[in-house]
Symmetry: C2
Subunit: 526 residues, 2 copies
């Protein structure tokens, strides 16, 4: 007889633990396959330490294949699910052909994604802290800003480079800021032209305290610690928007910066939204047995799912999107799937969190464990010990422990890997008065005006200034790129403006390869 | 009195050691600045171990600022030198403005770059092993190929994914292949659908032996070791060209592969070529005192320079481009610059290499030290000990030693970081008969034919096949991208063909932003 096949989509806490637990419980009775877009498990609570350079990027993650011996791992992207045919449709490998994979049981544990569309400009001008590459990108950005600030002779560029903003003061925001503050202090001596008071670390929080998930006095402690380390915390402040140059708040403040990290605004992924299943509060509605409402043998847990904790219609209570709950759900789900295949009864999900804790960087933390509240170095040591304990895989435990040990004795590394993953075309937002380009710069590429308008200041042959306006549909940069010369006009946004920038190398390749495009540019363009 | 200013371009062995030595000798009498495009020193001999995942990428490098206390470090790109005005012209920071930096003494130590233009297609379809990012990219590529091969159901794709080719069997080629062979053996158990015999490791060498810099019997030993580990070594074989699908040799053989690493064909950088100075054998001509011929107080050492070792006009002898020689030259250069500023006599460069050695991976090596030849595990231990000793900076030494220790006890990590630095537009080469796309694939982007021609096979409504030819200037993919549908014809190269591929995301952004371009595409395109 063919073994029942369980397909799990997603390799985070929920998916990974469901696979391992199911493999253990089923003793080979099930055929288990985990499908993931990345081939490793990310231990998200450690990402702030990757961003701060305490941990080597590879040490905060564990290859899924190492963790799931017994379950198969497929590196692929699921594009659709055919619930009638009980098939998952995916893209994988080199030839991008849609393939179908059969399932008897399906587990959807794809988590949530950062939803940046809430704040204009954030999609183009902010970093997130979801994945390993995010953390690594932030680390490189901070060092890049330090290097730039060290050599520039323009005060406004220096100020912008040395202002680091984090949106949101929940766990991810506070831990990231704590680590960032420590990093900045430690690498500062390497940069002779930067003083500590020139660096601004700003945290913007809509509510009236940091870490709102914790009891109030722990929030107060955390706030004091952050402020003591030179972090400005803007409480009761809503974020409005971001541009290439600055972040804007709802109360009308603006802060020039190149580095904005968003830790707020989570939502369902495009994939989950595209499925013909019921979403509630942006999450997949499941029953207490973790089965998706309206579907049979389709399950969902973790951040992607809305798991009820009570049956009170008036005051419904749901599991929070944390790793602890995902792991507890995975335990139950493995049992429930097994019981279903054996025709046994399913159990409902109940769980009480053991504790809650956060690192503040610099050897300080806050924790509440079984109702006991701890702060300072003790909380921080508990935090580290607990995380080493929870890390999956011995190799990862040892690597993380060694990195921590090493960090005590050795300088924090400032190796800067240039950001190589900038897409060739990207959107840039500017507010009124912000300068897009100065004269005599090496042109960044070819610009197209998508909304708003700009002023170009040129100098006439007789030295007098001349002004041009640029409107929607206008473009510039083509000639400067073609003739390899510097920009020759200062260009400023006249209002809120969005541009598309095509990087010079790609623009040149496209122009020289595609004759009609070249003719188009030669015909009418600036 | 103003201190004499020494500007050093390049932070490799030559530049870094000149700066530290000069700082030590001059006791503050000189103003020293090192300009580098990257902010870290790369210990190149360790790159193969980064490529094989033994070393964490950041551990094989040391931040320049940590090494050069006393000398300034500027992260910038030198674009030109004004020898008359004694100024270096550079681009730095965020605003790309050309800046001038004065010097009294200038040291050019920019090394060499991989010259891939010798072999058609290599610029677009081969990897190099020059920098940290190259090594990291190769490591990711190998894991990507293993992941692809594990899931594909197409034998030709599997074969291509599992064939790894290295061009050149000098130090870099042999050490890279040795490490690669070890890596493949160690990670293979994680991939249940791949057998060892399906993996081909091929090394292509023009000469009749590997490691031609070493005595013949050490070459023979190295060859045997490599073959024992399953590496095919094609001796006396010239490389002809590469395409998206395969590598071609001069004797008419072809080998389907996705991974070609080139370790041959070094040449001067575009920057060095653009300078108004004399190049000899592709290197900067200097005299025995290391001063550039024809210029005063401009010096060059390391791989960039052609340093004479004798005065025999008939049989001139030059320093080989190795780290050992660069370090020895840096020692002398620091003295000579100091002597010049003090009006003292300069010394000529003489040096005899202490030894020469190579790792073969898997705990095997070859070495010749002061004339004594050593092989096997002894040579390998000497190799490791010597490299730990030569690594600059205590932190780096400790990190590398820990990585090595760790690698003994723990599995090699297979964390795969998706290649995110693919440019949005890239050239693709194909030979006659190679398939560019099949029907029913997700389209990769918009294609433009730059040379050669192709056949598109379509199916008519009545099911009969229909053939179209695509010629220079033709393009395709626009409609499939616009309508989000799959490709609908198989496209095959009819002869040697070069395409430009514009990635779908960038193409869509450009099309939707730039109205004339959209009209152009809608007007006449397929």
């Amino acid at each position: 007889m063919r073994k029942p096949k369980v397909v799990i989509i997603g390799g985070g806490f929920g998916g990974m633990f469901t696979a391992t637990k199911l493999h253990k419980l089923s003793r080979g009775d099930l055929d288990i396959e985990l499908i993931s877009k990345i081939n490793y498990f990310v231990y998200q609570p450690l990402l702030p330490e990757v961003a701060a350079g305490t941990l080597n990027p590879q040490d905060a993650v564990t290859p899924l294949r190492n963790l799931l011996n017994g379950a198969r791992v497929r590196l692929a992207e699921v594009t659709d699910i055919d619930f009638d045919a009980k098939q998952v449709i995916l893209l994988q490998g080199q030839r991008k052909i849609l393939q179908r994979v059969d399932y008897d049981h399906l587990v959807i544990t794809t988590g949530q994604v950062a939803n940046l569309s809430l704040f204009p400009g954030f999609e183009h001008h902010s970093l997130t802290m979801k994945d390993l590459s995010d953390a690594y990108r932030l680390r490189n950005r901070v060092i890049e800003c330090m290097e730039m600030a060290d050599v520039t002779r323009f005060p406004d560029i220096k100020q912008r480079a040395l202002t680091f903003v984090i949106g949101g003061a929940g766990f991810s925001g506070v831990e990231t800021m704590g680590e960032l503050a420590e990093m900045v202090d430690r690498i500062l001596p390497e940069y002779p032209n930067i003083q500590r008071h020139e660096i601004r670390l700003v945290m913007i929080q809509l509510g009236n305290r940091v870490l709102p998930e914790l009891p109030e006095h722990l929030s107060t402690y955390a706030l004091n610690q952050l402020e003591k380390r030179g972090v400005e915390v803007w409480l009761n402040t809503g974020i409005h928007s971001a541009t290439q140059h600055a972040i804007y708040t709802n109360d009308g403040r603006s802060l020039p910066t190149r580095t904005i990290v968003t830790t707020i605004g989570n939502g369902p992924s495009e994939f989950v939204k595209s499925l013909p299943i019921q979403l509630q509060r942006g999450r997949i509605a499941v029953n207490a047995e973790l089965e998706v409402i309206g579907l049979s043998n389709v399950w969902s847990i973790g951040d992607a799912a809305l798991v009820p904790l009570n049956t009170d219609q008036e005051n419904p209570l749901y599991a929070p999107p944390t790793a602890q709950f995902a792991v507890a759900q995975a335990e139950l789900l493995a049992q429930n799937i097994l019981h279903r295949t054996r025709g046994q009864n399913l159990a409902s999900f109940t769980y009480k969190a053991a504790g809650i804790m956060a690192s503040l960087g610099g050897g300080r933390g806050v924790a509440e464990i079984y109702g006991v509240r701890v702060t300072g170095i003790v909380a921080w040591v508990i935090w580290r010990a607990a995380y080493i304990g929870m890390l999956p895989g011995l190799a990862t435990k040892v690597r993380v422990a060694l990195d921590w040990l090493f960090d005590f004795f050795m300088p924090r590394t400032i190796v800067y890997m240039a950001e190589s993953d900038r897409p060739a075309t990207r959107y840039l937002d500017y507010s009124q008065g912000e300068v897009v380009q100065y004269a005599n710069e090496v042109p960044a590429g070819f610009y197209i005006v998508l909304s708003g308008s700009l002023t170009q200041e040129l100098e006439k042959d007789n030295g007098e200034p001349e002004h041009h306006e640029l409107h929607i549909g206008d473009s510039w940069g083509s000639r400067a790129l073609k003739e390899h010369r510097l920009t020759h006009g200062k260009i400023t946004a006249r209002e809120d403006t969005r541009l598309l920038l095509v990087n010079s190398g790609d623009f040149q390749r496209l122009r020289s390869s595609y004759k009609p495009f070249n003719e188009l540019l030669s015909a009418g363009n600036k």
